[in-house]
């Protein structure tokens, strides 16, 4: 008997009907939806156990201590260290995404020579050649580290020069060096004892100094109070986030800070509200009104307000001599609650303006991207992330530097701190292949230089000898109680922080012979913490989502 079309049709119908009685359709229905819950192309976190280690953030000179969660050898999250008396467990937004930075799309992974890829070997040869042909300049954006010492001694031995790009906070303290002879790197603000803070555009609540420090003070002593213990008065041309939350906001024309400072000093001196013996500035209130856009009454009112609750300190965003002069007039220099000397005399280094004509410039990865040296020199630039618009960012050599927690480094006292601090940031992440720090290159070139390792050890010894200050680790203990250098170094290397004694009581003498002329300088708005080369993709994204920052700011990433 032959099979007809009809038979096949019936057979098919039977099969279709029968299939419903089997697990096939039902199991498939289920499994397909389970598949849609576990799409293979969607990454999932590891199963590996999580361990927490301590280190410090090395993305900027604030060096906030961090707790880093690691799984399978990679950081999977960061948090602050609440027990740390300066940072108070706070981190800036950049910090909370820092563990993603090493995979940032802009991460540098190969040596670039001009626009084309090259190798470390060629870079070394080129650098050696430059050395022979003489003089080189080394530029450091984060002075005071062990690496900085490597730069300095290398420059001295090779007859080169070492220059630093001070952070904006340090630059704002430079005028006092001229007035009182104390290097800016040794000065800090005794904010804990101040009761009125007059900020000339400084983003005090927005990444200025150690983020946790002022935020904490402000939150505890000012936030929401009609008559706060700590009066924050913000002088700024626009309603920044600090201005928005300040106790008072004085909106002035851009760049008129100097005029306002001088005018306020004049009011205070004329009305005899300050005791300091300084000459009365020439600038009249009428001129000030015309420059600042504030009425004379407003200026008078503001002047009276700031002295109503002493101690008061004025904070600038750049080396504005008039604001420094105002502080002298207010008697806020070298006094409790003002600008204080934080301790032992540190060496102060020449700035980048003093770079003469050199054969080559070596730029450390800590130097901001907006710095580009004179054209004729050959530029060796270290960077972990390419923050430049062009591929090589104007450098002849672009050298991939270690990223977040990829190298051992140490954390000197952050700017604005009123006390000395020291910490070591152990490397917790296996470094990306092909990366090398500037210090490593130099130590490779001149093998009898003291390496970062050695310098850190030496510094630990100094701390141990001094027997001063306190160690904030898992437990808090005075250095005097630490049994040996090894123990001290071990503790520091596991993320403990050393904090020196408060010496703010030491008085400084600085006199003001005559007033700097209040020139109308274009206001230099201070770059805040995340002005860095790269913003974690998360942070940049989230700023776009919320309306917290202007597009120009998040586009940096």
């Amino acid at each position: 008997m032959k099979v007809t079309r009809r038979d096949l049709l019936l057979w098919g119908t039977g099969a279709a009907a029968g299939l419903v009685l089997t697990p096939v359709p039902w199991k498939l229905l289920g499994d397909v939806s389970i598949w849609s819950q576990n799409w293979p192309w969607i990454p999932q976190p590891t199963h590996a156990p999580v361990e927490v280690k301590r280190s410090s953030c090395t993305l900027c000179p604030k060096g906030c201590p961090m707790r880093v969660r690691l799984a399978a050898g990679w950081p999977v999250g960061v948090a602050g260290v609440p027990s740390h008396p300066l940072s108070r467990g706070a981190l800036c937004p950049l910090g909370f995404g820092a563990h993603q930075l090493n995979w940032h799309p802009q991460r540098l992974r190969t040596v670039l020579h001009g626009e084309k890829s090259s190798s470390w070997n060629e870079a070394r040869i080129a650098f050696a050649k430059a050395l022979r042909e003489g003089p080189i300049a080394i530029v450091d954006g984060y002075p005071g580290r062990a690496a900085s010492l490597v730069f300095d001694s290398f420059a001295q031995k090779q007859g080169g020069s070492y220059h630093v790009v001070p952070s904006p906070e340090i630059r704002a303290l430079a005028p006092y060096q001229a007035l009182g002879g104390v290097p800016a790197v040794d000065l800090g603000y005794d904010l804990e004892n101040a009761r009125t803070v007059l900020s000339f555009g400084a983003p005090l609540l927005d990444g200025w100094g150690i983020p946790g420090r002022f935020n904490h003070l402000w939150a505890e002593r000012a936030a929401g109070a009609a008559d706060p213990q700590l009066r924050l008065i913000q002088v700024e041309d626009s309603l920044s986030r600090t201005a928005a939350r300040a106790w008072q906001w004085a909106p002035i024309r851009a760049g008129a800070e100097a005029a306002l400072a001088t005018a306020m000093a004049r009011v205070l001196l004329e009305e005899g509200r300050v005791s300091a013996r300084v000459p009365i500035p020439a600038l009249t209130l009428a001129e000030a009104e015309q420059q600042t856009g504030l009425s004379t009454d407003a200026i008078r009112g503001l002047a009276r307000t700031i002295v109503a609750r002493p101690p008061v300190v004025a904070i600038a965003t750049d080396d504005n001599p008039s604001i420094a002069a105002l502080n002298v007039a207010l008697g806020a220099v070298g006094t409790r609650g003002g600008i204080v000397r934080r301790g032992k005399k540190a060496k102060s280094y020449p700035g980048i303006d003093t770079i003469g004509s050199v054969r080559a410039v070596l730029i450390d990865s800590t130097v901001p991207w907006d710095f580009t040296p004179s054209a004729n020199a050959e530029v060796f630039r270290f960077a972990a992330w390419n923050g430049a618009s062009s591929r090589a960012g104007g450098a002849d050599w672009l050298l991939p530097a270690p990223g977040f927690l990829e190298e051992l480094t140490d954390v000197p006292t952050p700017p604005t701190s009123a006390v000395e601090t020291y910490a070591v940031a152990p490397s917790l992440v296996k470094a990306t292949p092909e990366v090398q720090s500037a210090a490593q290159l130099l130590c490779g070139t001149d093998t009898d230089l003291a390496t970062v390792e050695k310098t850190i050890h030496a510094r630990c010894e100094d701390l141990f000898q001094a027997r001063a200050g306190t160690l904030y680790g898992d437990a808090t203990m005075p250095v005097a109680q630490v049994v040996s250098v090894e123990k001290l170094e071990e503790q520091l290397r596991s993320g403990a922080a050393w904090i020196g004694e408060d010496v703010s009581s030491e008085r400084l003498r600085c006199e003001l012979k005559n007033w700097p002329t209040a020139v109308d300088s274009p206001s230099s708005r201070q770059e805040t913490t995340w002005g860095g080369p790269a913003l974690p993709p998360l942070a940049s994204k989230l700023y776009q989502e919320s309306n917290l920052r202007e597009a120009s700011e998040w586009r940096k990433a």
């Binding site: 057979w11 039977g14 099969a15 009907a17 029968g18 009685l21 498939l28 598949w35 156990p49």
Partner: protein
């Protein structure tokens, strides 16, 4: 007429055969463990009696799951005996310090949060209540992986119909729920999911 019903019947029969017999074979891909491991041998020869001796709970309550290499190398740093399996373990994993890529029969997907600490310490469940006699196995089972979902077959249970299965068989959400119901334990979705 009878011819028609015959054709129909044949159709139904083919479908039933394909669905109940062939389908399960096709659905799962069979994989072998990297190393032939016998629980029995270990409990008898090396006096490891407690599951927790190797499958430990960490201090923070997280479960180590498959023991890490250091646990094995505690004894197997050198070959014990001459079996080929012993050779593979020592030469391919312990010597190079390479973790053994065990295939985990009871591994739940990423969206499930299962805490051994909660079930063993707090609820006092015995290992066998979910893992049955795996602890006494004298041969490693073949690991069957669902081609579509990528889940281990143990999650669904061996019987494709899920009828007449042993109490420990099956680790689907429904199975968790029924056990929770028996013990009058209520958890929201995120009580067990993440």
């Amino acid at each position: 007429m009878s011819r028609n019903s015959l054709a129909l019947g044949l159709g139904v029969a083919t479908a039933l055969l394909a669905g109940w017999v062939a389908f399960p074979q096709v659905l799962y891909v069979r994989k072998h463990q990297p190393v032939e491991f016998h629980h029995k041998t270990h409990s008898e020869k090396s006096g490891i009696t407690q599951c927790g001796d190797c499958h430990t709970l960490r201090a923070d309550g997280t479960f180590i799951g498959m023991p890490r290499l250091e646990t094995c190398s505690g004894c197997h740093s050198q070959r014990i005996g001459t079996s080929r399996e012993e050779a593979t373990l020592v030469d391919e994993y312990i010597k190079p310090g390479q973790e053994v890529p065990w295939l985990v029969y009871a591994r739940q997907p990423a969206n499930v949060w299962f805490s051994h600490a909660v079930h063993v310490r707090r609820a006092g469940l015995g290992c066998a209540e979910c893992h049955s006699s795996d602890g006494q196995s004298d041969a490693v089972r073949v690991y069957e992986q669902n081609r579509i979902t990528g889940y281990s077959r143990d999650i669904w249970g061996h019987s494709i119909s899920r009828l007449r299965r042993a109490p420990h068989e099956g680790m689907k959400m429904g199975d968790c729920e029924s056990c929770h119901r028996q013990h009058h334990f209520e958890a929201g979705c995120l009580g067990c999911h993440q």
